[in-house]
Amino acid sequence: MHPFTYAKAADMREALNAGWRGGRYVAGGTTLVDLMRETVERPDVLVDISSLPLREVVVTGRGGLRIGALVRMAEAAAHPKVRVLYPVISEALELSASAQLRNMATIGGNIMQRTRCTYFRDVTAACNKREPGSGCAALHGYNRSHAILGTSDHCVATHPSDVAVAFAALEATVHVLGPDGERRIAFADFLLRPGSTPNREQALRKGELITAVEIPAHARPLKSGYLKVRDRQSYEFALTSAAVALHVSGGVIREAKVAAGGVGTVPWKLPAVERHLIGERPSDRLWAEAAEHAADGARPLTHNGFKPELLKRTVERQLRTVGGTK
């Protein structure tokens, strides 16, 4: 670990000032401190924001939710409103990490978490994300867990978050506060695909701080759920995952929100799957046909050739679980 200074911000202003001067925000610390130990992250200044008043879950309008950035994963998962309105969020959170980590890690930190690419986390390996221009060891290395969607020749690392997949599916908005005031960023625009600058991961400007993630009000209530496929039963990042939210009325699918995890450089929204579902009647055949589009554009690597097919099956299974039949 490299030496650093640490200060706890007493209020928003103090935090933003420190952030503007180059301080790194730390809340639960479950990602940043790990990476500091591996010297992947070498911040000079840590700004502890954990006492800022960003710990509320608020219902906004008809079925909207605003989850404060400092709400712990465990708190968000257990929140009655989250459970009732968006089980997909609770499930994604509860299938993440371990109980200990969920008690520390925050919602803001969760969507900021960095990739699990082992070459990124090994400072002796080439990694454009960690050290721009050094190359990508994963591209032709061991890449079983890596992305098949949204990749570039510069980076094939997966975004590891589960709940971010639910947020992507539900078209959430990220609220940020910075030196220039408040901004709202559509979730689809918040996390960046690597392109030629994999070191740039979020659409945050200098010193900006996430204050909340908002799930927009949906006119029609959604039935939702999250499926995570992984080698072991607990405490592992997804090989593939699917967040699905549907509204079915009169036997017809009126709303469909679908996104996939474990496969993209960012949580992967699946508009082609959604389009295939809207206006149709639920059936096993429909789920299979819609899921056929889940891996459109996939570029598998040496060790993750199984992922496109597994992704389709994951999406199909979760459509069936949420949408019924069989």
């Binding site: 670990m1 090994d122 039963q233 607990s234 299974r317």
Partner: protein, 728 residues
């Protein structure tokens, strides 16, 4: 020798349980002698080549940094001989060669751990890298590491009515104990004291004595507690030499603890195997021949090999067997014993192939095994001391509900899950070695028993206390067993399931001697109520000696010693080890049953329940034995489904050197695990009648699971671990 058995056989809790769970147990790295400083290893980032430069300026400029040691400034150490494994052991900074990725190339020593860590990260090493070879399936073997033959297997195979020809592959596995390797080294002149995590305190003495060219009696190694090891603390590795070297260089006690990442580089692993197996049988399923062509990875500097061939030549009656084990020298660190060494890897192909044969012939897998049950050990021509494998099958089939298994694959469903049952046999050698234990009975009636053994998890102090308590006629509370100090009477390495048999027999011998000494004292003492009684008629219970037929006639150890002005009685117990040559074939056995659920669409395998039935002869403590079995089933689930050390063959880098990417089972992966121990003793094995337990319990777990996966899915995956991509 008619002492009542009160403690042995009872499910008493661990004597050190409270210490362990309350943080009271002092592990190696918990020791901080006055003036202790910290050492952090810098490891190579290439897989093979030469170090061309080491820039330590930035590191040494940091306040608090005492020294950075590398081959450029390390003291020259005397030459050493490799005993096991044969070869040239890895030395601490003696030249510029890099032999594998992660090899220690320097060590930073500083006054605080944080400073040492930071300094290590500032050391810049430059290399002249060479192409490394780390892929077992893409490298040439060095032949003839082990061979075995009886009959003419190749010819017999040609004429066998039923034949099977398969290759099984197993991944490299790392031990991953909770406690990382750690050592604190302190010099006093040319005398060295180390607190080290080790399964073999006297082995570390031997290694450090050779490395530093100092007499063994100048070295003391202390290791009272181990936080798990699974074999990887059964050798003094190079980091221990580095710590001692650093302590001598900076003239301060040095503490060195490997990081989790470093635990994948220099403390051994279960090697990857390619096991070519051919079976020949008649139509009735009786084996006529088998050939075993095995390749295993080893380092270039040492030739490691283990008993992977044994199950294939002694488990089943087979007139013709040919075996060849070739090691494949690679640019990797040396493999090492990992739980069930050799047997756990060898049972997988053998027991999978038996399942394949059973399926092929339409015979129940247990029935097939019974048809091939040998009457004696055909590999040694020795009679079995005890072999209750039939009992294991019978009890296991009954308790597991084997009759509910549909032999037709893919025939049992539970929603999206295919359900399957599988079984396998397991076996492990009953090793015994020379051991000693000192026994001291004090005037207060309590006893202290000591031996330089270790406890990596089985509960050595507890089981030894049980043996001692019964032999001395004391209660458990009146006995203390101490271990883990090289100054104690010698004990063999705490590995190979030999501790109970070896040290336990020495403890029993010592305690018997002491009890008899006390009895002799009493019967010859006119002041004793037992004066004149035949010594053979006296038993001791709860610390009181009394005449068998006349329980009221007796006295306590305390009174006896007090009256005779003795502060204590003390004897040395010993056990001579296995006879040379052995007169019997000595093995522990098991039958393992597994039920799995497979989501074939998603490639998921989940173990639903397992049952292990064991013939390990006498069980000293059923609670500890159960813990051994459950732990090993968990390890076996890992071996079967999860554990896989992955190497990037471009540069020999281990890419999953952490516990997020190297998967071991979580609690959710080990739901319903049950162990049954077949009643019995084996006094041909050793005086206390045990056959060893800690190793056999993992053997057979992986093939039982793999066979269950086949029964569930009809897919025979001949590679471990069985992962989603193999099943999709």
């Amino acid at each position: 020798m008619s002492q009542p058995q009160a403690a042995v056989g009872a499910a008493v809790p661990r004597v050190d349980a409270r210490l362990r769970v309350t943080g009271g147990a002092k592990y190696a790295a918990d020791n901080s002698p006055d003036g202790v400083v910290h050492a952090v290893i810098v490891e190579s980032s290439i897989g093979r080549g030469r170090i061309t430069g080491i820039d330590t300026r930035a590191a040494e400029a940091r306040p608090g940094v005492l020294k950075v040691i590398s081959h450029l400034n390390a003291p020259k150490l005397p030459p050493v001989e490799g005993r096991f494994p044969p070869g040239k052991p890895l030395r601490a900074f003696q030249d510029d060669r890099v032999q594998f990725f992660g090899q220690p190339v320097a060590v930073a020593v500083a006054t605080t751990l944080e400073t040492a860590q930071h300094a290590a990260s500032l050391v810049k090493v430059s290399y002249d890298a060479e192409t490394s070879s780390t892929d077992i399936s893409d490298a040439d073997a060095a032949g003839g590491t082990q061979t075995y033959a009886r009959g003419d297997a190749d010819r017999a195979l040609d004429s066998a009515p039923v034949r099977l020809d398969t290759t099984y592959r197993t991944a490299r596995n790392h031990h991953n104990p909770m406690e990382p390797a750690g050592i604190v080294a302190q010099w006093d002149g040319d005398r060295l004291t180390v607190w080290e995590k080790t399964q073999y305190v006297q082995g570390t003495v031997f290694t450090l004595s050779g490395e530093f060219g100092i007499p063994p009696d100048h070295i003391r190694v202390i290791s009272p507690f181990i936080g798990g090891a699974f074999g990887n603390a059964a050798r003094a590795w190079v980091h221990s030499v580095i710590a001692a070297m650093a302590a001598r260089e900076v003239k301060r006690p040095v503490k060195l603890v490997l990081t989790r990442r470093q635990m994948y580089f220099t403390v051994g692993y279960r090697p990857a195997y390619e096991y070519g197996l051919r079976l020949g049988a008649d139509r009735g399923g009786r084996l006529t021949a088998s050939t075993h062509d095995v390749r295993a990875e080893s380092s270039r500097y040492e030739t490691y090999s283990e008993s992977v061939l044994v199950p294939g030549r002694m488990l089943y009656s087979t007139p013709n067997v040919r075996q060849a084990y070739d090691h494949v020298p690679l640019d990797v660190s040396t493999p090492w014993f990992m739980r069930g060494p050799g047997y756990a890897s060898g049972a997988y192909p053998v027991e999978s192939a038996m399942d394949e044969l059973a399926h092929e012939l339409g015979v129940d897998p247990i029935e097939l095994r019974l048809r091939n049950e040998p009457s004696d050990d055909e590999s040694s021509n020795l009679p079995f001391s005890t072999r209750r494998l039939r009992d294991c099958y019978r009890t296991g089939a009954r308790e597991f509900g084997w009759h509910r298994r549909n032999p037709k694959p893919r025939s049992t469903r539970d929603g999206d899950w295919l359900i399957g049952m599988g079984m396998a046999a397991g076996v492990y050698d009953t090793m015994r070695s020379e051991a000693q234990a000192s026994v001291r009975l004090d005037a207060d009636g309590t006893a202290l028993v000591q031996s330089a053994t270790s406890d990596m998890g089985p509960g050595t102090a507890t089981s030894m206390s049980q043996v001692a308590a019964d032999a001395l006629g004391l209660t458990m509370r009146q006995v203390t067993f101490r271990l883990g100090d090289s100054l104690m009477p010698p004990a063999p390495v705490h590995a190979g399931s030999q501790t109970m048999a070896s040290v336990g027999s020495a403890v029993q011998d010592g305690c018997d001697k002491l009890r008899k000494q006390a009895i002799a004292l009493a019967v010859n003492d006119k002041g004793s109520p037992l004066h004149g009684v035949d010594a053979a008629d006296i038993v001791v219970r709860g610390g009181r000696l009394y005449a068998k037929g006349e329980p009221t006639r007796g006295e306590t150890y305390q009174r006896l010693l007090a009256r005779n002005d003795r502060t204590h009685l003390e004897v040395l117990g010993s056990y001579a080890g296995a006879p040379e040559p052995e007169r019997f074939s000595l093995y522990a056995y098991s039958a393992i049953f597994a039920e799995v659920a497979v989501d074939a669409r998603l490639g998921l395998v989940r173990v639903r329940r397992m049952l292990g039935v064991y013939d390990a002869a006498r069980i000293v403590n059923p609670r500890l034995a159960d813990s051994q079995a459950i732990g090993a089933m968990t390890g076996g689930i890992g071996q079967a489904l999860l554990e896989h050390t992955v190497t990037d063959h471009r540069d020999g880098r281990i890419v999953n050197a952490n516990l997020a990417d190297y998967l071991v089972p979580t609690h959710a992966d080990m739901p319903d695990l049950k162990a049954i121990f077949i009643d019995g003793q084996d006094y041909e094995a050793d005086p206390i009648g045990v056959k060893g337990l800690g190793e056999v319990v993992i053997v057979g777990v992986a093939p039982a699971i793999a066979n269950a996966v086949f029964n569930a899915t009809g897919r025979r995956i001949r590679q471990l671990p069985i992962t989603a991509e193999a099943l999709l």
